[in-house]
């Protein structure tokens, strides 16, 4: 890995049941993620994806690039807007610095051309 290199892009589309499955796996049953009627009552188009599920997609792009789960030393993200099922999410990243056995990678995730994770920074163990 060298400064300026992109990491392989990750594309993923959650299905309608993904937030329900993730709620069960993570224990986060906030109704905006599992209950369409509730989500619509609070002004959302429908149930939305968990931010931490989206962060897991960013982490997956990084561990795939780094060669496995051991490679991810740090990940710091800011959540923006919301992500919906049935629409493609793209995770991209660029190596910004390499040194001391670590690669610093800037990462972001977007859906429909809008950032859902922005200003993401990661350290990968080399």
């Amino acid at each position: 890995m060298n400064a300026g290199d992109p990491i392989p892009e990750l594309k993923v589309t959650a299905d309608k049941l993904t937030p329900v499955r993730y709620a069960g796996a993570s224990g986060d049953f906030n109704p905006i993620h599992v209950d369409d009627e509730f989500a619509q009552r609070v002004g959302l188009p429908g149930r939305i994806l968990h931010g931490l599920w989206t962060m897991a997609q960013v982490a997956r792009a990084l561990t795939d690039a780094g060669g496995g789960p051991h490679s991810l030393e740090r990940l710091d993200v800011t959540f923006r807007g919301m992500a919906l099922p049935d629409r493609e999410i793209t995770v991209t990243g660029t190596v910004v610095e390499v040194g001391d056995g670590l690669a610093k990678v800037d990462v972001r995730a977007e859906q429909d051309g809008k950032a859902i994770v922005r200003g993401g920074e990661a350290d990968l163990r080399l």
Partner: protein, 147 residues
């Protein structure tokens, strides 16, 4: 206005026993395909005693501890106005099925900006060998009630 005198408050640590099937369930939910999270033989061939938890499995073993902190009545966070603003994790040794993880949470900061309250919680998770496996910074944003 959030109560800044609560900065520094620590919450009772929680213990989480990492199960093999919970790792598989989580890995499926997030679309992890690396066989280290699914296939015991592959994990053992790579020198691990059992299935390896994906790094973001930290969300699962921190869940009850961070939940107890965020739901603390003294903080009085109103959940219908809560947004997850940002999240940082730093990871140490990998978490393996069979590990027992203890997570302690502290309220690191409380501030107000642009009519919103910011709560920053720090979680420190250690395994049964007292190795720090994950440190998390959880930033929650609470929109103020209209006055």
């Amino acid at each position: 206005m959030p109560d800044t005198t609560l900065i520094g408050k620590s919450f009772a640590p929680g213990l989480y026993a990492v199960g093999r099937e919970k790792i598989r369930e989580y890995a499926i939910a997030v679309g992890e395909t690396n066989p280290l999270h699914h296939d015991l033989q592959v994990a053992r061939n790579h020198g691990y005693d059992d299935l390896v938890a994906p790094p973001m499995f930290a969300v699962v073993y921190c869940s009850s501890s961070i939940g107890a902190a965020m739901f603390d009545p003294e903080l009085g966070i109103e959940f219908d106005r809560l947004l997850h603003g940002s999240q940082e994790f730093r990871w140490g040794p990998l978490v393996i099925a069979g590990d027992e993880i203890t997570t302690s949470v502290t309220l690191k900061d409380v501030s107000t900006r642009a009519g919103m309250a910011f709560y920053v919680f720090e979680s420190v998770s250690t395994n049964q060998r007292d190795e720090t496996v994950c440190v998390g910074l959880w930033t929650d944003i609470v929109r103020e009630a209209a006055s």
